[in-house]
């Protein structure tokens, strides 16, 4: 094999030597292609595996940890929540609509492959600044793509988050989370076993689309990236809907042995992984694979990433049952081979062997790198913030309105109303009001989820940023009244071959591991997306956490809306720290500086436990955490959604300078939640908080048509609800619609 071909397949000299060792001979071109995709960063996690081992993955509720198509946790009543988050960053930059759409299709397949009925989608998006027309085009395409796929297949997109920062201009992030529900003892597995059992291929025909998609997702972008467009696949949600229904029907029968979707690296990855998991061999003849183009060779068929395809192994002798179910859905199950006892992945083309690779080494002996890490030089500079050098803003009311209108904070309605968020009639918390909540029909329970991550915090302090992401996602779930019970993560970083990036990665993983451990939330799976760089410029390191919680009594679920006037407003938690890393600093002073206020995980756990209790006992009428923009934005959001104003007074924060009030309003200290006490419950609420060791203070009352904030009994900001609502509701829309409807 000539070095140019090897290099074109993204294999290093050492990796190629390993191929030679495993095969004991030179590979064929098809074999080289198979090794290339299986050992790509995207499929093998070769740079990240060594770090991911540090994540806590076990707990009493874990039914399925990392290693399968998705993780699963026990939610009671014999049911499991099956969920995972995955990125589709690179394809979405090249072709926003199809990139995002196929991202949705891919994660849905991961969930129903486990035998779970998908019931909810969420997404976490990052784009450049909205004043760039190219960014607006990306946002428009990505949102339309997510909507186009999710709406058609009939799985509600119930929530998500989005942020805008120039660091993502050349590398948007599209992370999609899907959750399904299955019987806990009937999860399907992606394994092949039982020599002689038939191997079926079902779904869309194979074309030349997406060949080397996994390899593309494992390289940086340059000015020629647009030429990669043919490597982006085209989604067909109708085909996937048929596959979803047919596969769930097949799984009800014990005629099925194992099943796996063909995602990244297509037929290669599914055959190899199923064989490796079952310690079996698989022999297929690619000429039997349904093809939509003529003249495809084995290399192309094995590496195609055409969408909406599944591989399954059935019990020998039960073929007719399986085939009949697919026929009902107008799908043709093509028998392309069988399970063997020799542990080899044997690929034939019209009877002739074109690849023969031992399955286990191919899957399990992928390269593993403990790449060099080094603390980036930029950190010392950006972590220094001299608040005394900041000019205090003279009118905090104006600042408040300006922040409400910031794309990072403003209403997301323009986005979420493009998503069908109600189909399946389980959505009991509409988008935009806090964590997403869906009920589980047939039980009294509901599931709450939140996806969160703050790239700015991680850029300034990746360890703390990792901790903060876990804490915030879990806190949002707890605000709905749900107990966080499991998490999935999507780790979006730059080029791991650069020691500074690898250091960010390692630090963020440590932070996530630390927080998940302290809060008792196991990670059951996830995804790593590296090489998020364009022309050497990396994105802010952006770990995104998806946390799942369960609430036993769905009728108790809360959102952030103040339910009435004349209620006491209570702030749980205490303001600490300064303005480091805040949205205020970024928007008003154009500074991304300082360190984000650290999270005390013991306090965080106490706060979240208290919240779940307060909701279960019906003591509070709303709950909303303090995040970007601080307590001032939290209060405004509680008021805008309800049409009920508020008058509050906050203690000053920090040293006695001109920024005391600014820090009180816009500082982003974590572990704080604004709740409203229901009539007559205030004292009980405060005493429960005291017993739990959670600081709690009555800061004001709901009512009126204005939101008024004082600091130490002096009014510092006072805005009409109408003005606040206008700023907040137009912040995003104004970039996309000339006249808002």
């Amino acid at each position: 094999m000539d070095p140019a071909t090897i290099e074109a397949h993204g294999l290093t000299a050492d990796e190629y030597q390993k191929v030679l060792d495993i095969l004991g001979r030179e590979p064929t071109l098809t074999e080289l292609g198979i090794f290339s995709v299986m050992w790509s960063e995207h499929c093998s996690y070769k740079s990240s595996r060594v770090h991911l081992k540090r994540l806590p993955t076990e707990g009493p509720r874990v039914v399925q940890g990392p290693g399968e198509n998705a993780g699963a946790v026990d939610i009671g009543d014999g049911l499991a929540a099956v969920f995972k988050i995955e990125s589709h960053n690179h394809p979405s930059f090249i072709e926003p609509y199809q990139g995002a759409a196929t991202g949705v299709g891919g994660i849905i397949r991961d969930i129903f492959t486990m035998g779970a009925r998908p019931i909810a989608l969420l997404n976490s998006l990052r784009f450049g600044a909205l004043d760039d027309p190219a960014t607006r085009r990306l946002v428009d395409g990505v949102v339309a793509g997510i909507a186009g796929y999710g709406n058609s297949i009939g799985i509600p997109t119930v929530g998500g988050e989005v942020d805008f920062d120039p660091s993502y201009a050349g590398n948007p992030l599209v992370n999609v989370f899907c959750l399904g529900v299955a019987k806990a003892d009937q999860l399907a597995k992606g394994l092949a076993s039982g020599a002689g059992n038939p191997v079926y291929y079902v779904g869309a025909k194979t074309g030349r689309d997406g060949i080397h998609g996994a390899t593309m997702a494992s390289a940086e972008f340059d000015e020629n990236s647009a030429e990669n467009r043919p490597a982006v696949q085209v989604g067909d949600p109708f085909m996937e809907k048929l596959l979803l229904e047919a596969c769930l029907e097949v799984m009800k029968s014990d005629a099925l042995v194992g099943i796996q979707d063909m995602g990244a690296a297509g037929l290669t990855c599914s055959t190899c992984e199923m064989g490796a998991r079952g310690d079996a061999g698989i022999e297929i003849d690619v000429s039997l694979v349904p093809q939509r183009e003529t003249g495809m060779n084995a290399y192309e068929i094995m590496l195609s990433e055409s969408q909406e395809r599944m591989l399954l192994v059935a019990q020998k002798g039960r073929e007719a049952e399986v085939e009949a179910i697919f026929e009902k859905w107008d799908l043709h199950a093509a028998r392309i081979g069988e399970v063997t006892g020799d542990g080899l992945l044997r690929v034939k083309h019209a009877g002739e062997v074109v690849a023969e690779i031992p399955n286990r080494p191919l899957a399990d002996q992928a390269p593993l790198y403990n790449r060099q890490t080094s603390r980036p030089e930029y950190l010392d500079d950006v972590q220094r913030l001299d608040e005394s050098a900041l000019d205090p803003s003279p009118d905090l009311g104006r600042v408040w309105l300006d922040l409400l209108c910031a794309p990072s904070i403003a209403s997301r309605r323009w986005i979420y109303r493009q998503y069908d968020h109600m189909v399946r009639t389980n959505t009991i918390a509409l988008p935009g009001l806090g964590a997403a909540v869906v009920r589980v029909k047939g039980t009294d329970r509901a599931l709450a989820f939140s996806v969160d991550g703050n790239g700015r915090y991680c850029y300034l302090d990746p360890l703390e940023g990792g901790r903060l992401a876990v804490a915030e996602a879990a806190r949002n779930v707890a605000c709905a009244g749900a107990q966080p019970i499991g998490a999935t993560n999507c780790l979006n970083f730059g080029n791991p071959e650069r020691p500074e990036i690898m250091w960010q990665f390692a630090q963020a993983v440590d932070g996530i591991a630390d927080a998940c451990g302290a809060l008792g939330i196991p990670i059951t799976g996830g995804n790593v997306s590296l090489y998020n760089e364009t022309e050497g410029q990396a994105i802010h390191p952006t770990p995104v956490l998806g946390v799942v919680g369960v609430i036993d009594d769905a009728s108790r679920v809360l959102n952030r809306v103040f339910p009435a006037a004349d209620l006491d407003i209570v702030l749980l938690g205490e303001a600490t720290g300064g303005l480091g890393g805040s949205e205020y600093l970024k928007r008003m002073h154009r500074l991304v500086r300082g360190r984000p206020a650290p999270v005390d995980l013991d306090r965080e756990r106490a706060l979240q436990t208290l919240l779940v209790e307060l909701v279960a006992e019906g003591l509070i009428g709303s709950a909303h955490d303090c995040a970007e923009g601080g307590v001032a934005i939290t209060l405004a959001e509680c008021c805008i959604d309800s049409g009920v104003g508020a008058v509050v007074d906050l203690p000053p924060v920090g040293s006695q300078d001109g920024l005391m009030a600014t820090r009180a309003l816009f500082g982003e200290a974590p572990t704080r939640v604004v709740v409203s006490a229901l009539p007559g419950t205030r004292d009980q609420l405060l005493s429960k908080a005291r017993a739990a060791g959670v600081p709690a203070a009555v800061i004001g009352r709901t009512g009126g048509a204005r939101v008024t904030i004082g600091v130490a009994d002096e009014i510092v900001a006072d805005v009409g609800l109408d003005d606040a609502e206008q700023a907040w509701s137009l912040g995003l829309t104004r970039h996309f619609e000339r006249a808002a409807s």
């Binding site: 058609s152 809907k241 048929l242 109303r417 998503y419 069908d420 968020h421 769905a554």
Partner: protein
């Protein structure tokens, strides 16, 4: 009574209609596969929402050729109550059981939100329990819901009182701002001249429980229960 819920490939609100009929209203309900030619002895037919056949051609354009549609046509001809919701409305239009067409929403975006609709007529099996002028809060979720037809057809629909639901403001006023998709004459739902076939874009089956934000859709399904019992 018994509802038949037709399942086309790509239907995705079939389970929602089933849940509302069976578990909320406590009636019988049966799924009817589009290749079937019977209606399982049902008293009323629901064509549910979704993306039948992916709606890649024109919404509902392929579903109308499904074998079950001939049975539905016959059931309707005999006076049986038939309701098409969202994609089901689109299928009824393509099948010629109702008149007009549905175009892309005026801002060309899919819209999922609660809207208000005014009940215009109560002499259909699906609105008998409502009051004329009653305002319902119902969700919409569609990309192609802008009702359109010729001036002559609209005039005849109006003359025959076949416009059953119109988009309106919270207090029942007709306003352009309350018309989410740009429908002609703010039409949200119509019936056939015989009044037993009704199609509408909003989703009453998604608004049958307070936990989901509105119970206003119940009157549509409860009306047909009462009509069948009468």
């Amino acid at each position: 009574m018994k509802f038949a819920i037709i399942e086309f490939p790509g239907s995705n609100c079939d389970h929602d209609a089933y849940h509302a009929a069976k578990h909320v209203l406590g009636q019988q309900a049966a799924f009817v596969w589009h290749k079937d030619t019977g209606l399982a002895g049902a008293d009323a037919v629901v064509l549910p929402g979704g993306f039948s056949y992916g709606d890649y051609l024109r919404t509902g354009a392929i579903a109308r050729f499904s074998p079950v549609m001939e049975t539905v046509r016959q059931f309707a001809a005999e006076g049986g109550p038939v309701i098409g919701i969202c994609n089901g409305f689109q299928v009824l239009l393509e099948a010629g059981l109702l008149e007009g067409a549905l175009l892309r929403n005026r801002r060309l975006k899919f819209l999922c939100q609660h809207v208000h609709v005014r009940v215009e007529q109560t002499d259909t099996p699906f609105t008998g329990g409502a009051q004329v002028g009653q305002v319902l809060s119902l969700p919409i979720a569609h990309g192609e819901g802008s009702y359109h037809t010729t001036a002559e057809t609209l005039a005849s629909l109006e003359a025959n009182r076949q416009v059953i639901f119109r988009y309106c403001s919270q207090d029942g006023a007709m306003q352009d701002a309350a018309n989410p998709n740009g429908s002609l004459a703010a039409v949200a739902g119509i019936c056939n001249p015989e009044r037993n076939v009704v199609g509408l874009m909003p989703h009453p089956e998604r608004a049958c429980e307070s936990a989901l934000g509105s119970e206003d859709g119940r009157v549509v399904l409860e009306s047909v229960v009462a009509a069948v019992a009468a």
